[in-house]
């Protein structure tokens, strides 16, 4: 599989200041902490983890809405992590982001036609008239009525709005689509429609996608590989089927066990996440999951577990992984 995007050691630390000027306190949140993964051509990579683990931050870093603290993002042989804004235009055409909340990501003062044509406007593609015609085609390509182009976002349902956001992301014919929880603000009934639309887009356009979600069953349905994050770090990374069948990391197991199973009789022994989460100002040389971990060993609070290969194409950051040998 050809690699279209390579992320290495990507970190984002937020420094927040609090208190009055004469008693300033600083605290560092390591929202993304040394994350590495690759995205293959025409692949859907699932990025999962509980709320606050740094999924959106990772997405924002890749499109450079945020500047990384360290690490590299290789796209087409270029490290876009440290390019200045002015030289980012090309990669910004090729990597598009779809936001979680379709109510907030569309400008209420613009018509739908203007919204989907905005990327062309920004990059100076097409004249005003062509833009209007192309916008209608674009709307139709995501299953909307071309007539809608004169309407405003508030006249649409949530699902329709998310289609608009997807259409906008497709306008520049990108290579990579980053979808940040594109369905979490939607009704159950339209979730599947949007997921199917994204699947179709991948098939017909041959693009790659990073699909961010906290819903493991959704990710399982759409992605070939998944990245599991916890408190800014990658816990486990590998092919979807294998991870679901045999998780290597205790955190992944806990996550999988938390998925509701329709038939109670089929429910096996469940690992339940217990205990306090790690304090945000804890040391770096630590496994962030150790206070809650069932399998923790003596040095889990003293050593940072590296992301190591635990099988073919499988990686886990655990000192005591659940590999074949251990089981």
């Amino acid at each position: 599989m050809k690699t279209v995007l390579k992320i290495e050691g990507l970190s984002k630390h937020f420094v927040s200041r609090s208190g009055p000027s004469w008693r300033r306190r600083e605290s560092v949140v390591r929202a993304v902490d040394g994350v590495s993964f690759e995205l293959g051509e025409n692949e859907v990579l699932g990025l999962v983890g509980e709320s606050g683990c740094g999924k959106s931050t990772t997405g924002s870093l890749i499109v450079r809405l945020l500047d990384p603290t360290s690490g590299s993002i290789i796209h087409r042989g270029l490290d876009i992590a440290c390019l200045p804004e002015t030289e980012l235009l090309e990669s910004r055409k090729k990597i598009q982001l779809i936001f979680q909340d379709p109510f907030a990501s569309l400008d209420p003062m613009m018509t739908l036609g203007e919204i989907v044509a905005e990327p062309w406007e920004i990059h100076g593609i097409y004249g005003p008239k062509e833009r209007r015609n192309e916008a209608v085609h674009l709307l139709e390509s995501v299953g909307l009525d071309g007539e809608l182009s004169g309407r405003y976002p508030h006249e649409l349902s949530g699902g329709q709005r998310q289609r608009i956001a997807i259409a906008r992301a497709l306008a520049l014919d990108p290579e990579i689509l980053i979808a940040d929880e594109p369905t979490s603000a939607l009704d159950v009934s339209v979730k599947a429609q949007i997921i199917n639309l994204l699947g179709d887009i991948r098939d017909t356009r041959g693009l790659s996608m990073i699909f961010i979600s906290h819903d493991l069953s959704m990710v399982r349905h759409i992605s070939q590989r998944i990245v599991v994050m916890y408190l800014g770090r990658i816990m486990e990374y590998g092919p979807t089927g294998e991870i679901f069948a045999r998780p290597n990391h205790p955190y992944t197991r806990a996550l999988l066990d938390a998925i509701p199973v329709p038939d109670p009789m089929k429910r096996g022994k469940r690992t339940i996440i217990r205990g306090e989460a790690l304090a945000p100002d804890a040391s770096e040389e630590i496994c962030p999951f150790y206070p809650r971990c069932e399998r923790r060993g003596a040095d889990c609070d003293r050593k940072r577990p590296p992301l190591v290969e635990t099988g073919r194409g499988r990686f886990a950051a655990c000192l005591y992984p659940e590999t074949e040998a251990v089981r």
């Binding site: 208190g19 009055p20 004469w22 008693r23």
Partner: protein, 306 residues
């Protein structure tokens, strides 16, 4: 906290000097001195003599330094409009009426405004609420001289119940005090109402009521205490309103106070008096600002705990 107060005081002193410098240079660089031909026909020689006598012929910087030196010795010079006394003597004659009337207005208007605001909050969308909102809108938007004039017309001219000017008889204080009182009355009524409604909607009030505490206790002890904190911040605009208002009120009701001297000092280009009044005002406004700020800081539990 101590360093904070100190910082504020230092910035007040700096402001004071900056203001004095700006005003001083502005007043002395604008054409049209107090001894201009059209006001007082003087021969050039006589004019030069008077200018020298008042030090108006020296360079501006020298005049300023000299002036500030004497200010620090509490000597503001001699007012051009009444050369028989010093500025300090004139001011010490003028401040009691101003402070008396303004203070009375504040003392009467504040409790009335708070009570009206509470009544409006407790009886929402009833007549009291409408009256309160009418009174506060009127008092906040309409200039004080309009209110003064209405009071004069109604009670002085048409009903002939009250005198509209004079200073000797306390009966003649009633109308100016009423005009001043409108400022805190209107502002407090509006602010108390919204601040009270905010607190009334908090869950802890529901809990207290549910615990069976008497209604009165809840309202006057718990709700009022919480609503009072943000209300401290409006003391400053009210102070400004009354200070500014005194210029108009004192002129209309012919009160021999600081406000009316402010107007005459400006129209007569009486530099020494004008400078003294502006410096006094800067100081008063600055102190009122700091006091409001510190009071808020102390009353607000969120900042106090730290």
């Amino acid at each position: 906290m101590f360093t904070y107060v100190l910082k504020r005081l230092v910035s007040l002193v700096v402001t004071f000097f900056v203001v004095s410098m700006i005003i001083f240079s502005l007043m002395h660089s604008i054409p049209g001195g107090p001894f201009d031909e059209d006001k007082m026909p003087l021969s050039p020689a006589a004019k030069a003599k008077i200018m020298a006598q008042y030090g108006l012929d020296k360079p501006l910087a020298v005049q300023y330094v000299r002036y500030m030196e004497s200010v620090l010795r509490f000597d503001f010079g001699i007012p051009y409009q009444s050369p028989g006394e010093t500025v300090v003597a004139l001011l010490s004659r003028a401040w009691p009426p101003s402070f008396l009337l303004g203070g009375l207005g504040l003392l009467i208007g504040t409790p009335l405004g708070i009570l009206l605001g509470i009544a409006a909050a407790l009886r929402r969308n009833r007549p009291v609420d409408y009256i309160a909102s009418a009174v506060s809108t009127l008092g906040i938007t309409v200039p004080i001289y309009v209110i003064s004039l209405m009071l004069m017309l109604v009670f002085g001219v048409w009903l002939k119940w009250l005198p509209t000017n004079g200073w000797g008889n306390p009966v003649s204080w009633i109308l100016p005090v009423a005009a001043y009182a409108i400022v805190p009355l209107a502002t407090f009524a509006r602010y108390t109402r919204s601040s009270f409604l905010d607190v009334l909607n908090k869950p802890f009030v529901t809990v207290l009521m549910a615990k069976g505490l008497p209604y009165r206790t809840v309202i006057f002890k718990h709700v009022l205490k919480n609503a009072a904190i943000p209300m401290v911040t409006i003391f400053f605009p009210i102070f400004i309103g009354i200070t500014t208002g005194s210029i108009f009120v004192e002129q209309m009701f012919r009160v021999p106070g600081l406000g009316s001297y402010f107007v005459t000092s400006i129209s007569k280009r009486d530099y020494p008096l004008e400078m003294a009044l502006i410096l006094l005002l800067t100081l008063m406004v600055g102190i009122a600002y700091i006091v409001t700020d510190i009071a808020y800081y102390y009353l607000n539990p969120r900042t106090r705990i730290k």
